[in-house]
């Protein structure tokens, strides 16, 4: 069953077309990667879906209901959660309090929010960090906290924006385990923007590729990796011309 349907989504910024007529669907229970070179429009697409940017044209349907023109907090309340690439914490909230903010979306009670936050932190093996301010933590831990916070709001679909950027190989390994856990064990449908290919190609069932705001490919990771259009987008026209025979 389709959980998210994006129909002909276009987003212009003052004449710059950041997303150009993009359509795709996500099924319940999928784990889909969204890749593309820098500036391809991946984060813009996430921002449009989550309601942060008003779309220029097109429709977004989530869980059977149109969410195209909803405010970001209304989209979130329907069960569409997300993380942000650059997370700037002013340092007022501890890790546990951060996750509680997410939990408060589903309950008014501080006690319930607190219990739920502790569960999530234990589940993601973050309990030891509960009392620290987010700003005191290294990047890898901050990324895990943003995922824990998003999980607090109990989403059906979670959009992850570059949760592995800037991490070392062992940290990437940890993040991958967490993403798989969120998807496999917690039953959350996941879409992730990622530049770290080892991660995205390994965990994704399916990959969507953007370049210059357009969807240029979609399919299984292995197939997409061999697609000349995708290689051209990443490595340039010349590379394809000179090494073209490899891909035939």
């Amino acid at each position: 069953m389709a959980l998210l349907e994006v129909h002909n989504l276009t987003k212009d910024f003052d004449g710059l077309r950041a997303n150009d007529d993009i359509s795709f669907t996500l099924d319940q229970g999928e784990l889909v990667g969204l890749i593309g070179p820098n500036g391809a429009g991946k984060t813009t697409l996430f921002n449009c879906i989550s309601g942060l940017h008003p779309v220029t044209s097109g429709r977004i349907v989530f869980d059977g209901q149109e969410i195209t023109h909803l405010k970001p907090y209304e989209v979130a309340r329907r069960g569409l959660g997300r993380t942000f690439q650059v997370y700037v914490a002013s340092g007022d909230l501890t890790v546990e309090e951060n996750v509680m903010v997410g939990c408060f979306m589903r309950t008014r009670s501080r006690t319930l929010a607190n219990v739920r936050a502790r569960e999530i932190l234990a589940d993601l093996k973050l309990s030891d960090l509960a009392g620290y301010l987010v700003s005191e933590l290294p990047v890898s831990a901050q990324k895990r906290v943003t995922m824990a916070t998003a999980l607090g709001s109990d989403p059906k679909l979670l959009l992850l924006d570059e949760v592995a950027a800037g991490l070392n190989p062992s940290e990437i390994e940890e993040i991958m385990t967490i993403i798989k856990h969120i998807h496999d064990d917690l039953g959350v449908t996941v879409m992730l923007i990622e530049h770290v290919m080892e991660l995205v190609m390994k965990v994704s069932h399916r990959v969507i590729v953007l370049d210059y705001g357009q969807k240029i490919a979609e399919g299984e990771p292995a197939t997409v990796a061999k697609d000349p259009l995708v290689i051209k987008a990443y490595l340039g026209e010349r590379y394809v011309r000179e090494h073209g025979e490899k891909f035939k």
Partner: protein, 335 residues
Amino acid sequence: MEALRNALDFSDFPRIDLIVAGVVATFLVAFPLTPHSSFAMATMIQFLMFSLYGMGWNTIGGYGGQVDLGKAQYLGIGAFTTAVMLIRWDIPFWVSMPIGVALAVAWSFIIGYPLFRLTGHYFAIATIATSLVLKDIFEVWDFVGAARGLEISPIKYSPPDFLRLIFKEDIYYYYIILGFFFLGILYVNWFRKSRLGFQLRAIKDNEAVAQSLGINVHWAKIKTYAIATAFVSLVGSFHACYIKNIEPEDTMSLDLSILIALMAMLGGAGSLWGPIIGAGVLIPLKSYLKEWLGAKAGLVGMDLILYSLIIMVVSAAEPRGIWGIVEKIRRRKQA
């Protein structure tokens, strides 16, 4: 029930804080029983009033990070509502105060709705503007006494009058405002742990993230602004009965708005004790310096320079004020 339990639960503070708070609370309760000058009494009442203004400011300005420089307009609404109702219709404080709060909150909705579309400095400037406009209106509005203001004449009543809050001795005013002071602390203690309190702190951190967690940022700010307004208007009503002579020029002045904000920031915005510490430092300093320097010609205004200096020094050391410094030292000790 959970709300009440949260209001009364201070267990997340270190023991030393609670001991200090207990000592201070005991002192505040016992103060009128000790020998004191009437000047000291007046200063203590001012301290309690400004602590409450600061607590109100702190909800939106501290926890929410929305710097509000227009609190005096709500003080004015509270003060004038109570004064007008008492003088014209002999309506007692306990009736006029909630009406004043309701009017102030209604006004805060009217200006908060468009103002919270603005962010950062624009919001701060806009709050100054609305406050000055309201003051100008009050200065030409005959119904509320225009620029002359209003005077509650104590001779008409037979003090102690607990309904109208008309007393001869300051000790009555002291204990009433002390009661509000303790209630204010309990309220903010609940607020900071409530859903709204958490949402506001998340908004201060990052509005986009807050929205992605289902928080209606605009509405959360408006609601909190109403809470801050209620605090200030309530004390404004008290101010009318206590001072008895109110003019727009001093109850609604920009100086007052800025003083409220500065005090809370000096003590520590976004913390429970911050506004109280700020008021505890600045109010005695301000009134004693004024008394001392006021007698010396040519030195008028020195008090303002001095407390500006203190604020500059403290905020250079730690933007989160005196309480921020305390917390910094504590964290360093832990590490």
